[in-house]
Amino acid sequence: MASKFTRSNRTGWMMAGPAAALMAIFVVLPFLFAIGLSFTNQRLISPNPTQFVGLSNYEQLLGVGVLTLAPETDTTGAVLRDADGKPSYPSVRSFTRNNDQYPQYDGMREWFSFGLGDNQVYVLGRDIVFLKALVNTVIFVLVVAPVQGGLALGLALLINQRLRGINLFRAIYFMPVVVSIVVVSLLWRFIYDGNSGLLNNLLGAISLGTIPRIDWLGNPGTALGAIIAMSVWQAVGFHMVIWLSGLQTISPTLYEAAAIEGASPWQTFRYVTWPGLRNTAVLVLIVITMQAFSLFSQIDVMTGGGPLDSTQTIVFQAVERGYGKQDISGGSTISVVLFVIVLSISLIQRWLTREKK
């Protein structure tokens, strides 16, 4: 029989009160603030009054345009070509700067371009850095979610057996998780060092010096990859533990039944283990996706978004804008955009992985 103490509504609220108040102050309120600020021109510290600016922050952030340019021709209509035989095009700047005929492109910069027949298609953006950050973040998520989830499952399968000293392995794989990401990032900066980093020395040693030294974090081609690898390593233990808990809920007799029916290890995984992990898989996938979208600390410690914006990310940009540049409304706008992206993806993942009746 429940006592009055556990049934009283007032007691319940008083118990939950401190936590609820803290959550309201530090989670709900800032969230609502961010939405509100994203419609203003508020700066972090400014003598000017705040003005409502509608959606212009969003237009500034997400504005993109496509400009298709035909090659320049001479008076006979023949395409003008440069010394390499490539056609030459009018400069993009002539459309995006002070051109009254194309007001929609005003202030935009080239994001990327590609050839389409003789024409050249330019994709323009108002905020190229943010767009790069968006792409980098999406790449990060697309690589980290399957790789980290898969590796974590593999490790979980390995440590889900009765072996002498198995807890030692569990502890080792889990260790990076309990170390602060900032510390891990600092350590990996040494590992990735271009001159005497551990990774370069290791590669040099096993290749007998044939692999050249690479400045992993200083090279636009390798910086994001390096951060992905380190991030996967850091959090894989956490998801391993979640997988492990899922594995341990599967009844051992199901494996015995499968063994009696003659299932091979792969068939056992396919027909017993994987279906039993369905709910765990949804959880792991959504958690990894959300964590990956909020990539910040590694960037802040290791590259600061560089080189050449190759490791810019959404959250890094939000912080950079809001506090670095004191543009709190711009930072808020990025946060809201990120929120919408993560929410939509989580909903889609839930819908895709729903239990089919």
Partner: protein, 357 residues
Amino acid sequence: MARVSLSGIKKNYGGVEIIKGVDIDVADGEFTVFVGPSGCGKSTLLRMIAGLEDITGGTLTIGDRVVNDLPPKDRSIAMVFQSYAIFPHMTVRENLAFGLTIANAPKAEKDAKVAEAARILQMEHLLDRRPSQLSGGQRQRVAIGRAIVRKPGVFLFDEPLSNLDAALRVDMRMELAKLHADLGATMIYVTHDQVEAMTLADKIVVLNAGIVQQVGTPLELYHRPANLFVAGFIGSPKMNFLKAKVEAVDATSVTVGSPDIGTLVLPKANVAAAVGDAVTVGMRPHHLTLGGAQDITGRVVLVERLGNETLTAIVLASGQQIIVALPGDIEVMAGQQLHLATQAERACLFLANGLAA
């Protein structure tokens, strides 16, 4: 169809001997029940036959093959587990066909075998349901169906009815008996429930502490238990054990006596006992009757009325308590003195070493 032969079977876990050399022969088509208290090793023994546990020593033969080192699927066995072990994410049809799916059998073969198993178990209407939509009895039927589809030489049952409620257990017990009659297959059945053992078995193997206590038909075990353990284990309520001393021995009978039972002449031939030996007289509660000769007198301390019989606990002069099962609904009350007649020809006699005389 296959005969099963266990010869000197042993099982150690670490240094602990669980099965201490077991010899059992199960004839082709025989329904054999392993029965014993918890921890007697009966399930371990079954799992060793199935191939789910390694055999430490001895020889296990199924059909004409020694199968000690064969994997479960090659032993021509099918097993039904206490927890059903049906795959929760598969329909009944998929569960029944699991072994065939694993073996890449053609669809026509699968359909035919599933249909046959479903017909035998009368569950055609359940084929497209999922286990979560089935009752406990239906789930166990699916598990039995999956065993039937394998067409094994030997069916192994590991306490298949223990998770069912009492009424359903009685129904399923009858169905299992009918199934055995229909299929004529060799079946080995593990249970701690002696009613299941008595009703289903052609042959019962009583196990205790990893040693076979007695092998025989249900009625042999009931009427001629080989030792005190079997006498106490088979039969409900338990057999009453009364201490006595041998007063006389001749070629066709032995006379025993004690203050509780007076002097009793048991018609046992060639008993290896001498006058003055301490022995134990076993009397089943159903073999004590009211009226007639008044061999035993005691005071009633507890009455349990079951309608068809009345179980009465009686304290004798020495303070020992015995149970008497009196037919019908007899008027007895706590505190009342009862005079009971023994049936000497049905009493058992156990020597000091616990073996039956």
